[in-house]
C-alpha cells in the first residue's frame, strides 16, 4: 500500500466490452496528487467509456479502481462523489432552470450534512461563501444570480468545470472541456485550469482533442487507441511518438 501513497487514483486492468466490441481493453494507470493527466486518442478509442467505468456509471467487466487506496469497483456514482471525485461530460451538465449560484451549491452540497439537514436544513447548506469564491475564481460573479440556461455556451462550460471542482475536491475528470468553446474562452479556460492546479494543487484528468490545449495543460499524457493504452509520456515525447502519429493518421 505504501507505493500507492500520493496516488489519488489507481486503475488496474479495466476492460469493458459491448457485444463483441472491446471498448476498453486492460487499461491500467495511476493519477498522482496534484497532477494534470491528459487522455487522448482518436474518436471511439474508449476514453469516455473508461471515464464511465472509473466513475461507476458503467460496471467494468474486469479490473479494479482505487480512490485513495480504497477499492471502489461496483460503487454507485453518488457514493464515489462522497470520496471527492467528480467529472464533466462532453455535453453541458449545468441545470438550466437554476441560477449559477444554485448550480454551484448543488454540486458541493452532498459532502455536507445528514438526511435531516437535507430535508429541513438551510437551502444553501452553509456553502454560499465557498460557492461565491468558486464563482469569483471562474470570473462568473456578475452572472451569479442568472439562470444558468441564459448563459453563453462558453460561460456554461466554465460553470460546468466550476461545478465539477466543487463536487470533486480530490479529483476531477474533464471530458472534452474545450469542445465547442470559442478561442477567447478557450484561453481563459486553460488559464483557469492551470492556475487552479498550480495554486490549489487540484488534480485532474482531461480528455481532449485540442492538442494545443492538452500539451499546454498536462504534465503527462496517455494515448488510447482501440481501447488500449499505446503510449505514455510527457507532451514532448507524445508529440514525437510514431505509434501515436500512426494511430491518429491511420498511416
Amino acid at each position: 500500500m505504501n507505493s500507492a501513497s500520493g496516488n489519488v487514483l489507481r486503475v488496474r486492468g479495466i476492460s469493458k466490452s459491448f457485444g463483441g466490441v472491446h471498448a476498453v481493453n486492460d487499461v491500467s494507470f495511476d493519477v498522482q496528487e496534484g497532477e494534470v493527466l491528459g487522455l487522448i486518442g482518436p474518436n471511439g478509442s474508449g476514453k469516455s467509456t473508461l471515464f464511465d467505468c472509473i466513475l461507476g456509471q458503467l460496471t467494468p467487466d474486469t479490473g479494479e479502481v482505487y480512490v485513495g487506496g480504497e477499492a471502489v469497483a461496483g460503487k454507485r456514482p453518488c457514493d464515489l462523489n462522497k470520496l471527492g471525485i467528480a467529472r464533466t461530460f462532453q455535453m453541458l451538465q449545468v441545470f438550466p432552470e437554476m441560477t449559477v449560484l444554485e448550480n454551484i451549491i448543488l454540486a458541493g452540497q452532498e459532502h455536507h450534512g445528514g438526511m435531516l439537514s437535507r430535508l429541513f436544513g438551510k437551502r444553501d447548506a452553509g456553502l454560499t461563501e465557498e460557492a461565491d469564491e468558486m464563482i469569483a475564481f471562474f470570473r462568473l460573479s456578475h452572472l451569479r444570480d442568472q439562470r444558468a440556461g441564459s448563459l453563453s455556451y462558453g460561460q456554461q462550460k466554465l460553470l460546468d468545470v466550476a461545478m465539477a471542482f466543487m463536487a470533486g475536491p480530490r479529483l476531477v475528470m474533464l471530458d472534452e472541456p474545450a469542445g465547442g468553446v470559442n478561442l477567447t474562452m478557450l484561453e481563459s479556460l486553460k488559464e483557469h485550469l492551470k492556475v487552479f492546479n498550480e495554486e490549489r494543487g487540484a488534480t485532474f484528468v482531461v480528455i481532449e482533442h485540442n492538442m494545443e490545449f492538452v500539451m499546454a495543460l498536462c504534465s503527462r499524457i496517455l494515448v488510447l487507441s482501440n481501447g488500449a493504452i499505446i503510449a505514455e509520456g510527457t507532451p514532448e515525447e507524445i508529440r514525437n511518438d510514431p505509434d501515436v502519429i500512426e494511430a491518429y493518421l491511420g498511416a
Binding site: P77, F89, L106, A107, E110, H111, L119, G121, A125
Partner: protein, 292 residues
Amino acid sequence: MAEFFQLLVSGLATGSIYALAAVGFTLLWQASKVINFAQGEFVMLPAFFILIGTQVLGWNFIVALLFALICTLVLLGYFFKRVIIDPMLPHGVLPIVIATIALGIVMRDSVKEFYSAEAQPFPAVFSEETVSVFGAVISVQDIAILITSLAAITLLQVFLTRTRTGRCMQATAQNRAVAEILGVNVKRMILYTFLINAALALMASVLISPIYLAKFSNGQSIGLIAFIAAIVGGFNQVRGALVGGLLIGVIDNLSAAYISAEYRTAFPLILLIIIILVRPQGLLGTAEERTV
C-alpha cells in the same frame, strides 16, 4: 352574476382536485419519464382503503385515513415503483404505458370484484353547509377543498424549490446522470417522487369522493382529465399542472351550464385539441428538445 360566481367557485374546487392528480402526473414524468395511465385509479383506490377501515374494520375516520395513507404510500408509491416501473423502465416508454394501463384495469376490476360495483357514500371531510356571498350561494366544502388543494400544491412547490432535497429532486429531473455524478442519490429522489405522487392521489381521493361517491369506475374520467390538465398546463411544470387543472374544472362547469350539459365531457377535449394545435408545450410549459 351570482350563478356565474357559484359555478366559478365549484369549478375551481373540482379543478383543484384535478390539479392534485395532474401535479403527480407531471412529477412522475419529470423524475423518471413515466406516464402513469393508472393515475385515475390511483385517485379512486385510496377512498376504498378508507372505506375498508370504516365499514369493514369499524374504525373511526381518522384511523382509517392513517391506514389508507400507509396503504397508499406502500402500494401506490413503493410497490408501484419497485414491481411495475423499475423492471419496465429500461425497455422504454411504451412498455410502461401498456403496464400502467393494465394496472389501471386490474385496480378498477379488483375494486368492483372484491369490494362493490355500487357507488359507496363517502363521509364528507368538510362541512356541507353553504354561505351566501353577495347573493351567491357558496358551498363551504368547495372553499375548503380549494384552500386545501392549493395549500398542498404550494407546500410542494416550496419543498421543491427551497429545500436541499427538493433541489436534488429537481436536479434529478433535469439531468439524471449529472445529478448522480454530483452526489445526488438519484434512486432515492425518484422514490420520493413516487411517494409524493401517492400522497397527492390519496388527498385527491379524500376530497373528491364525498362529491362523486366512491366508485370503482371513477378513475377513468379523473385519469383522463388529469392527463388533459397536465398537457394543457405544460407537462414539465408543476405550476402548469395546477393551472391546467383549475382551468378544466372551471371550463367544465361553465360550459355545462351555459353551452350544453350533454357535451360537457367534450369541452376539456376540445380545449386539449386547441392547445395541442396552438401551443403544444402547454400554457406554462417550455419546449423540450429530444434527440431521437
